[in-house]
Symmetry: C2
C-alpha cells in the first residue's frame, strides 16, 4: 500500500488534501477553512460550543481502533454534546498532532471517518490546526451547533416528580472495550491467535463506532416534548445523573429492572463474570441521552422510539438511589471514567 510521508506535502499541502473533499452544507457557514478564522452567522439562533481532546494511549488504542472509526468517533462524541443541549451540530474544527509514524494515507483514513460523521449529521468542517507531534496522535475537536433560545436544555433544571428517561441501552460500549482488551492481551501472547467476534458485533460497534442521538432530539422536537434537563452519557449513567441532580438540587430514584440493556451486553458480562448493572451504571462511552420530562408528558413518550423511563426525580433530601428488583435502595456512586485520577 502507498505510503506518502506527511513532510512531502508540507502543512498547507496536507490541509488542502485532507479538507478539499468536505462540502459546505449549512447556510450559517459563510467562510470555512482557509483564512485566519472561520466566519459563521447564526442570526436569531443561539450558538452552542463544545470541545473534546482525545489522546493516544489515554482515549484510544490504535491496536484495535481503525483510524477511519477513530475519525468518525471523534466527531460523534462532540455532536453528542450539542444534541445534549437539544441543539443541532453545524460546524467543527479539527486539530491534529501527528508523529512521523503516520502517513498521509493514515490521515486520509481518519478524515474519511470524520467526513462520514459530518455527512450523516449535516456538519461543516470549518478549520483546524495540523502539527507535528513528538509522540503519538493528538486529536482536538471543537463543535459549534445551533439551538433556538426557547429550546435549549441545560443540566440544572430538572424538577421534582419529573420522569427520568434514557435513550437506547447502556453498558454496551464498555463491554465492547472489555472484549477488545481481552483479545488484545490474547493476541500479545500468541501472535497466531485470531479473535472470534461473532455474535459480539453490536457491543464492538458501540465501542468502535458509536452514534450520536440526533434521531431522539429530532423526535422530541417533532412531538413538542421539551425536556426539563438533559445530558449525554459519556462517563456512565450514575455520574451523569449526579451532575443533573447536584446542579438541579434534587434527588432521584432509578429502578434496576428498568435500565435498558442489550442481550449482547448481558451475555458478555456473564462471560466475564462481571456485575451487569454496575457495567450499565458506570461503563463509559454510551453517548446515549439522559433527560427529564414533566410527569404530565408521560403519555406523549409513547410516540418516541427507543426511549425508556427508568425512574423519577425526587426531593434533594432523599438522595440518589438505585432501587433493586427486591426493592432495596442503594445510593448511586459515580465510579465513571476519570481519566485524570486513573492516569498511569
Amino acid at each position: 500500500m502507498a505510503r506518502t510521508e506527511i513532510a512531502s506535502l508540507g502543512e498547507f499541502g496536507l490541509i488542502k488534501r485532507l479538507t478539499e473533499k468536505f462540502p459546505i452544507v449549512n447556510n450559517t457557514t459563510l467562510k470555512a477553512v482557509g483564512d485566519d478564522a472561520a466566519v459563521l452567522d447564526y442570526k436569531d439562533k443561539q450558538c452552542l460550543v463544545t470541545t473534546d481532546l482525545l489522546l493516544e494511549g489515554i482515549h484510544f488504542d490504535l491496536i484495535y481502533m481503525p483510524l477511519k472509526h477513530l475519525g468518525y468517533k471523534s466527531a460523534i462524541v462532540n455532536f453528542s454534546d450539542i444534541y445534549a443541549m437539544n441543539g443541532f451540530p453545524k460546524q467543527i474544527t479539527v486539530s491534529l498532532g501527528v508523529s512521523k509514524r503516520f502517513s498521509v494515507e493514515d490521515l486520509e483514513d481518519f478524515y474519511a471517518g470524520l467526513r462520514l460523521a459530518c455527512e450523516e449529521h449535516g456538519v461543516d468542517l470549518v478549520g483546524g490546526d495540523t502539527s507535528a507531534s513528538v509522540t503519538g496522535l493528538t486529536i482536538s475537536i471543537t463543535c459549534l451547533g445551533e439551538g433556538e433560545a426557547k429550546n435549549i436544555v441545560y443540566r440544572n433544571t430538572a424538577k421534582e416528580n419529573d420522569l427520568i428517561c434514557v435513550s437506547g441501552n447502556l453498558g454496551a460500549a464498555y463491554m465492547g472495550l472489555q472484549l477488545l482488551e481481552r483479545e488484545k492481551s490474547v493476541f500479545a501472547n500468541e501472535s497466531n491467535a485470531q479473535p472470534d467476534f461473532s455474535g459480539k458485533e453490536y457491543i464492538l460497534q458501540r465501542q468502535l463506532r458509536p452514534e450520536a442521538r440526533k434521531d431522539i432530539v429530532k423526535q422530541l422536537q417533532d412531538k413538542a416534548i421539551l425536556p426539563t434537563a438533559m445530558i449525554d452519557i459519556s462517563d456512565g449513567l450514575s455520574s451523569e445523573l449526579m451532575h443533573i441532580c447536584t446542579l438541579s438540587k434534587c434527588g432521584c430514584r432509578i429502578y434496576e429492572d428498568k435500565i435498558p440493556i442489550d442481550f449482547q451486553t448481558a451475555s458478555m458480562a456473564e462471560e466475564f463474570n462481571m456485575n451487569l448493572v454496575t457495567a450499565a451504571l458506570n461503563g463509559g462511552e454510551d453517548y446515549e441521552l439522559l433527560f427529564t420530562i414533566p410527569l404530565a408528558l408521560h403519555d406523549k413518550l409513547i410516540d418516541i422510539d427507543d426511549v425508556t423511563v427508568i425512574g423519577h426525580i425526587c426531593k434533594e433530601s432523599m438522595g440518589l438511589c438505585l432501587v433493586t428488583r427486591d426493592e432495596q435502595e442503594f445510593p448511586l456512586k459515580a465510579q465513571g471514567w476519570n481519566s485524570l485520577s486513573t492516569e498511569s
Copy 2:
C-alpha cells in the same frame, strides 16, 4: 513550595479550581463552563472561529518558557487570528492534556497567564476538556470572536495598487528564540552558568510574552479605515504575503529599507552573524498584523500609531519581490516555520 497532585482533585475538582476565578464579561456569553456545551448569542454580529494546537517539544520548551507565560501566549496567538479578521475575540475554550509531571499549582500558573490575557482582551473562558496525557503537555485552544458583516476582512481581497502595511516590528520573537536556545545549550554544558539577558529584554518579551494587536484593529475602526485584506504574521512576513497575494491573485513589491526592525533585533542578529532581513522576513511568531489598504487612504494612516507602509500590491504577473536598498529585486520565498516538514 506546595505540590498538589492532580489526581487528588479529580477531573471535576480540577476544572472547578482552575476556572472559578474567571469572570464572565461579555453579554454574548449566556452559559460558560459547566454544561455539555457553552451557549452564545451573537445576535446580528457574525461569529469568527479559530483554533490552535500547542504541543510540548514542538511549539514550546518548558526549560525556558514559564507556565504563566505559556498560558498567556496560548491565548494571545488565538486572539491574534480573530483580530486578523478585523474582529474582536469574545470567548475561548481551553483543552489540556497533562502528564503526572505537572501539579495543580503548575496548572494554576498556566491559568493565571490565560486569565491575564482574557482580562486584557475582554474574553470569557466558556469551556474545555482536561485529560491525562502519557507524555508532556498538550494545549488546544479555540477562540470565538465577533465582527460586523461589513467589517470582516479576508485574505483574498487585496487589490492592485493597495498599500501594504505592517504593525509593530518584525523578527524580534525569532531573535529572542535564538537567544534562549543559545543560553539553553550553554546552560546544558555548564550548570553554574547564569544567562545574561540585560539589554535583550525586548526580544525575550516578544518570544515569551507576545501581544495581539487589538490596539491596531481598534484604531482602524475608530478612523474608519477598512483594510482590503488582512492576516496575522505567525509564520513570517514572506509566508503571509504569499498567502494574501496567492489568494488575491496579485503580486507585490516590498522595500527592504521600509521593513520595521527593532534595535535589539538588529544587534542580536549582528551578534549571531545572521542576515537581519532574512530574520525579519522569515522569523516566526511576530503576531503583528499585515494588511492592505487602498492608496486613497494613505493620508489617513498618519493617525494610526505603530503602522509602517512597506510596499504595494501589483499585478500577479509581476510576482512577489523584495526591493533591496540598491534597488535590486529578489523573489520572496516562504521559508517560514513549517513544523510538519521539519519534524524530527
